[in-house]
């Protein structure tokens, strides 16, 4: 390797370089080991192997913001979110940065098939002066692609040990422990030493000095100094240095085009991608909409919930508390905390959430999701979002509460705000969709058309209006598309289980709180007052029967309750459209309100919540004035 700064500087550099001692047995107790790598390099598979505890394996850039840690022998192991570099550009990077700064050893997982992308981070870790071992993962892909990597030369260029693994089949995993023990400080980018010199005396830590030099504001603030302005220069130098290493270690033998590559290309072409999207959506519909939402939920909700659980728990409760007392109403009444809420959570929501997360996991692990985000990017731009927002929007059709939590993965506050509003206003959740579909089919084809067109118009209008009025601009899409591969069954299952558990854990208290709140309103008569207040609007403006206001009040608790309440009314087809449009646009269920309060804060949640009332009655009313 040539040193850009010539021989003169060489001794000088050596003087500052600590000898790269490897980790001895004695000092290995309580050693902090950080697993660091780009997104989709199989970090979590390493973590699972080491610690046994399951962690979310992400295939979509940036879905694990939670930090996982566990123990392996005497090591404390941290699994970090996937990043392309260490800095403070996003929550993921901040989390990873902090873990790396504190770690004694960094196990850098690298996608061997994408060295150009991954080695930038590797070199940065080395430049930070951390003890590093590189795990070249997906070596099977390298072979399939007809590539060859000179591992010894790479190790010599980087100055750290390099190991070969294939995480999906756990090949080479026995080398993880030696890798941790042999980790050492590598060869920093030669041009860097000069830049780093002044800063080092201020921070005392090479890693922090480097980050400040590269413009990390948070770290600079900790030391009370101005962040450096040399990020671009340092990045470009590193990039060129990495490219130089790669040109030496990587050779292409017989480059073959794989089917997976072609499939990936077709999915981001407008002509082939849209039919592929339609097929994917249809398959999801068959699985989630037909099999789970209808067949399975019919059994769980009706048989297990209404017929077995509710009578049993009612029997138990009335043994101690009279059913007609206020406590009885709260516990096992219409909105009973232990009757209705339990059925709702376990027998309706749980199967649906599992089904949706399963579909999402398959789309993610196959590498399709980032491509779908690419395909719909431009359309979502019109609503002030970029392609990544497709994930919460799709999930919204499963459960708006679940989707509202997922908006966290979006790039900016502005995008979180817009997508949350769209979800709360215009996306009907699966529980409600089932009832809506049943009622609409009865009202005829034109009813379906008018309903869909109206909801879609509102969907577009909300997004467009917010995009035009909110300050700021949309973050442009910039994602790498991972190789398409067949998802691993156990991985998909574990991911689904982990996410379902996480969602239920997070959302369950809010469902109970919501049910309790409405139960109290019912017991104190507030619910009746509310209903009476709504009456003039319902009968006068919407031209619906008086009893429809009960449906709207019920809709506050559970969206599908509201829609189901309409079943019992004798409505004309036009009234069906008006009432369904109103109830779809109407405020989402109490649990999603609670989650929105938590995610978006009181003020914003109340604005959105009030807004749904206004929009629902305005649009419903206008439709009524035109139709009826």
């Amino acid at each position: 390797m040539t040193d850009a700064y010539g021989l003169l500087s060489h001794d000088h550099v050596e003087k500052h370089k600590h000898i790269g001692v490897s980790v001895s047995r004695e000092e290995s107790s309580n050693l902090k080991v950080a697993l660091v790598g780009n997104p989709n390099v199989g970090k979590s598979l390493f973590f699972n192997y080491l610690c046994g505890v399951y962690v979310d394996v992400s295939n979509y850039p940036g879905t694990t913001v939670e930090l996982m840690n566990g123990r392996f022998k005497s090591f404390e192991v941290f699994d970090t979110p996937g990043v392309y570099g260490i800095s403070s550009f996003s929550d993921e990077e901040v989390v990873t940065r902090d873990v790396v700064l504190q770690a004694d050893v960094v196990l850098n997982i690298v996608d061997a098939a994408h060295l150009e992308r991954d080695l930038f981070l590797t070199q940065q870790l080395i430049d930070m002066g951390k003890r590093v071992s590189v795990m070249l993962n997906f070596m099977d892909d390298v072979k399939k692609l007809g590539l060859q990597i000179d591992r010894e030369l790479l190790s010599s260029c980087l100055g750290v040990p390099v190991f070969a693994t294939t995480a999906t089949s756990r090949e080479g995993f026995e080398q993880i422990e030696p890798a941790i023990e042999q980790a050492r400080r590598g060869e920093p980018d030669p041009s860097l030493h000069h830049r780093l010199h002044g800063m080092l005396s201020v921070t005392g830590s090479e890693a922090e000095a480097l980050l400040i030099l590269e413009g990390d504001e948070a770290i600079a603030r900790q030391h009370g100094i101005q962040p450096g302005v040399e990020r671009d220069a340092a990045y470009i130098d590193r990039r060129n240095h990495v490219n130089f290493i790669i040109s030496a270690v990587l050779s292409e033998k017989n480059l073959r085009k794989r089917f997976a590559t072609s499939l990936g290309r077709w999915s981001v072409n407008a002509w082939t991608g849209i039919p592929m999207l339609l097929i994917a959506l249809y398959l999801i519909y068959l699985f989630v909409g037909r099999l789970v939402a209808q067949d399975i939920v019919n059994f769980t909700e009706t048989t297990l919930g209404h017929q077995l659980w509710e009578p049993w728990i009612r029997g138990v409760v009335v043994h101690y508390v009279p059913a007609s007392s206020w406590l009885g109403t709260l516990l096992v009444g219409e909105f009973g905390v232990v009757s209705m809420t339990v059925t709702y959570l376990l027998f309706l929501l749980l199967p649906l959430v599992i089904a949706f997360y399963l579909s999402l996991a398959i789309m993610e692990d196959s590498g399709y999701l980032p491509r779908l985000a690419t395909l719909v990017d431009r359309s979502l731009n019109a609503l002030g979002l970029n392609g990544s927002a497709i994930i919460p929007l799709i999930l919204g059709f499963g459960c708006v509460t679940m989707a509202t939590i997922t908006t966290r993965l979006l790039g900016s506050e502005r995008e979180k705000r817009i997508s949350t509003a769209i979800l709360q206003f215009a996306i009907p959740c699966s529980a409600q969709l089932a009832v809506v579909a049943a009622l609409l089919t009865g009202a005829g084809f034109s009813a379906i058309l008018i309903y869909s067109a109206t909801i879609f118009t509102v969907f577009v209008a909300i997004g467009t209006i917010l995009h035009r009025t909110l300050p700021g601009t949309t973050t442009p899409l910039l994602i790498d598309l991972p190789t398409m591969r067949l998802p691993r069954f156990d991985n998909v299952i574990r991911k689904t289980a982990y996410r379902t558990y996480f969602f239920m854990k997070e959302a369950t208290p809010w469902f109970f709180t919501g049910a309790l709140g409405v139960g109290i309103m019912q017991a104190t008569g507030l619910l009746m007052v509310w209903e009476n207040l709504l009456n003039p609007l319902t009968t006068g403006w919407l031209q619906l029967p008086r009893a429809a206001s009960t449906a709207f009040v019920m809709g506050m608790v559970r969206r599908d309750f509201g829609a189901a309440g309409l079943f019992q009314l004798a409505l004309t087809p036009h009234q069906v459209i008006v009432s369904l449009v109103t109830i779809t646009l109407f405020t989402p269920c109490i649990a999603s309100l609670m989650v929105m309060l938590k995610e978006r804060g009181l003020k914003e949640a109340l604005v959105v919540w009030t807004g749904t009332w206004v929009v629902a009655f305005l649009v419903g009313g206008l439709l009524s004035q035109i139709l009826i």
Binding site: Y84, S87, L115, I236, A270
Partner: protein
Amino acid sequence: METGSIPLHQATKGSYVVIRHVPEGRSKAQLIRLGILKGQLVRCLERLPGGTVVIEKNRQEIAIGVALARMILVAYTGTDLLSNS
């Protein structure tokens, strides 16, 4: 053999282009990390209606939204000698 610069979102599908300018701002660091910087050779794989582009650099596929792609200036290399498909 180079012609003038054009924005990346206007590059013909399948063409090889050399990056001539990358915009300043928040996206720049990420672009550099992904290897999209001045002087680099990339292939325009796909150009979706509306301008979202997919480019390929050393087997790595990267999707770029139109707002960013129109700020990246490229020049045709005027050759498809490097084509491997």
